[in-house]
Subunit: 337 residues, 2 copies
């Protein structure tokens, strides 16, 4: 493929390295070295050439670059189940970091199908990708993929502690939200969350209970990740003896159901009962009446950290597992209008 | 890159075309022709070789294939704004069709930024992609991208009628839902929908009004795509003189708000008022009380049609613009429990 064929603009003449060299006032060889990051050049020369390339929109030929460098500047992104609410922001953040590193992202949606995953791994091998990011819908660990190129697990960690996994610090998020509730002076706090088989539910409970101490009323209530469970949990609490003045929920869906049921029972949020969510999922957190104080998972940041870790590994450097700390978002469900 | 380097399995010996030929009982030349779809071969021979390749997990080398065919078997997927609720299913459907055609999908999230879009177009050019799918959050047309390779617009059409755009037939969907409401015997039907500046809102109104005829009560009410607008619209209707027995809504969010407000006013759904949504967005349609009769947009199907159209164009065939017909989904908000 020639540079001519790389030009996508209809009728436009593609920019050649000759043009870049002419504008920068250097030889073609110098321009080439400056753009490829090779050779001994003064930094001022290198940046003059790069400015000229930028100004002219010079792109070179990625395939020629791939052949000369042994790299394809392409990364596979595999999700173990369909891209959804959690994996999409992770994907976008990773894509952001990787594209800043000039890597393109090949999308592989395995739809939770092992045959499909194996097919994608073969296809990525055939394309010679430089690395792979693995993500998914669940924060529970998954078995590692068996490849000999750099891999980073994002949101869904690998079961192998030797792998690089970038995860969410659920406990830190729920500690922050519990501390906020105590700061407001609430003293009888219930916890309503998702299924105990999900590590994210368990970690969110442990983060909150550690902070609440004796302010925690009764045992945490585990159920579905749903609005309906939130409504049912309010009825469960109403049948108990202790009157609660705050309910810390494991998700925004649960918290929205809690608010709806409290209102139906004539109890006002946050005056009678402060309510908190988790996820900062706008269609739940903002549509809730009142809008929810919640925890922003910062999944795009998690994706960016994973993308940068993969770039480091591909460049021959090292990378370590890390947990991204989510952040508290305060709204009317604890503070009032 | 040799075939050895294409093998990703740690320590596993990669499958060679020699192995495929041996298993199929043919010469290496015949195996190669069968796998590349070239030469004069009996169909039985071709399928025997393909079965053998499938059984052994033979992948060849995509880059070698790309160099020999002049194609990269790679497609760019550009979204004009962040991947979200509408573009994700389109993306997944397209990826499904394209991967069946052995194409990999390069993801380009332009975040509604023209500079970023231009950067991606240059990057896709440098990688020599065989075609591009353009999608986005809005069903309103966008200006075409200026490239000389096959392009298909999915969900978000091009303003140029000469381009291939696969869109959603909103009017057909709202006609179906209006006909369903009439079938139930409802005779005084109101329409509550999104902003009149959105073509999808306008098309959904026209599809419903054409069917409703004299059963339509008053003018369609245009507002936000939100639950809050649904709640407010019920109050607007309550102040009017005509008592409605059905409300056809432009989205599931609006319909959910309508149901909530009707319940708060002591009116039962569907006994007093039947309510319909649009989108079949599970977190709204299923969480609504009662669950919503609505319209499934079939966006994955739309993506598949777009992916297939792009494959046809890349193969040198023709493709035409088309509209995918959404389908009616009947639940308790019209039928009762």
């Amino acid at each position: 493929m020639t540079l001519e064929r790389a030009g996508l603009d209809r009728g436009a003449q593609p920019v050649r390295i000759t043009d870049v060299a002419a504008l920068a006032g250097v030889s073609i060889g110098t321009a080439s070295k400056a753009l490829n990051g090779t050779g001994q050049l003064r930094e001022s020369t290198r940046s003059r050439v790069k400015d000229a390339a930028e100004k002219l929109g010079f792109v070179g030929d990625a395939r020629a670059r791939a052949l000369s460098s042994g790299r394809t500047y392409t990364v596979g992104m595999i999700t173990t189940d369909s891209f959804g609410r959690f994996s999409i922001p992770v994907l976008l953040g990773a894509e952001d970091a990787l594209s800043a590193g000039q890597m393109a992202v090949l999308l592989c949606d395995t739809r939770d199908d092992h045959v499909r995953e194996a097919h994608y791994l073969r296809s990525l091998a055939a394309r010679g990708v430089d690395g792979i990011i693995v993500t998914g819908r669940s924060a529970d660990p998954r078995p590692p993929i068996d490849v000999s190129i750099p891999v980073v697990y994002a949101f869904t960690p690998s079961t192998d502690p030797a792998d690089v996994s970038i995860t969410l610090d659920d406990a830190a998020g729920s500690s922050a939200v519990a501390a906020h509730v105590l700061t407001l002076g609430r003293q009888r706090v219930a916890i309503v969350t998702g299924p105990a088989r999900h590590q994210s539910a368990v970690r969110r409970v442990s983060g909150a209970t550690a902070v609440l101490g004796s302010a925690l009323v009764g045992e945490p209530l585990y159920g579905e990740w749903s609005e309906r469970w939130g409504r049912q949990a309010v009825d469960v609490l109403a049948r108990g003896s202790a009157d609660v003045d705050a309910i810390v929920c494991g998700s925004d869906q649960i918290a929205r159901g809690v608010c709806d049921r409290l209102r139906e029972l004539g109890r006002s949020v946050p005056e009678d009962v402060a309510v908190t969510g988790f996820d900062d999922w706008d269609v739940m957190a903002l549509a809730s009446r009142p809008p929810l104080t919640t925890v922003d998972l910062r999944l795009e940041e998690l994706g960016r950290v994973a993308g940068q870790a993969l770039l480091d590994l591909i460049d021959g450097g090292s990378a370590a597992s890390a947990a991204v700390t989510p952040s508290l978002v305060i709204r009317e469900s604890t503070l009032g209008a």
